[in-house]
Symmetry: C2
Subunit: 159 residues, 2 copies
Amino acid sequence: MKQTANQDKLLSEVRQIFENYLLENKLRRTPERFAILTEIYRRQDHFDADQLYDFMKQNNYHISRATVYNTLELLSKCGLIIKHQFGQHATIFEKSYGNAQHDHLICLDCSKIFEFCDPRLHQIEESMGRILKFNIERHALTLYGHCNGACDKTSKDKV
Amino acid sequence: MKQTANQDKLLSEVRQIFENYLLENKLRRTPERFAILTEIYRRQDHFDADQLYDFMKQNNYHISRATVYNTLELLSKCGLIIKHQFGQHATIFEKSYGNAQHDHLICLDCSKIFEFCDPRLHQIEESMGRILKFNIERHALTLYGHCNGACDKTSKDKV
DNA sequence: TTGTGTGCAAAAGCTTTGCATGTTG
DNA sequence: CAACATGCAAAGCTTTTGCACACAA
């Protein structure tokens, strides 16, 4: 099946990236770290640390919360996942390799998360960097709004 | 002194707005609520709940954490302060009456907060609302970057 | 007088840390 | 075999909650 072949290719690519990162930083390549990476890229879209911990447990891995948090930090540092702080709740993560950079729209009625991309953001970054004399490294834009009942048809995930 | 006169005018305006809000919602006009509003508008720029709690205590008010959180929630609902979630730390607030709407730039070196405004954001909100069929209510944009040592000269506040 | 708001302290929720054990390099 | 990662549980921090008392309406 074509889908599965793409999936396998993606998995081997991200594992390779993580392995290189660990080697370059003289960190250990433990089975726990690769298991977490693999499951994130196999399944989840937006998720928090606790959802991931539960998920690993349900799938018969024996991995502690400390390791989950530690590994999420490493994956974030090497760019394979992105951290988000939506609202006041737990930190939300999403896999980033193979995804176009995008921002988020959150429904105030049902908390579902949508993604969008707008090139004007790069222009804003550039202008503000120039004016305020900053090297802008990244941005976080979240729009909040009401879906008028349309969420159920198109949502990808929940916060 | 001109500055003081403006300050007094601002204070009486925001107290009036809060009072109207409380009356309209059949909430009580307690001394604690007005004390918190007054001190926020008299002093703080960006602050978190705990900083405000400490500040009130130092100034010989006897106000509990529960009341601080409760009042911040009310002030946020009636638009006199704005809540922010920068990074993974505590919720940050700022007074909003009399301030133009703006977004934030945070220095990754020294955590200082700068403000800016760009009209292209309204355009983005409008486009995305139309495309995704949402009524966009608000946005949160934060830029992260490096100041190249310029922060000390111009910063307003720290996270 | 009635019921909401307050203070206090305890609890809850997310994340980090300390320590003993296990495993990678 | 030495250093680092893990698991577990406890601690930390921010925020919320429960309860008795105070006070605004």
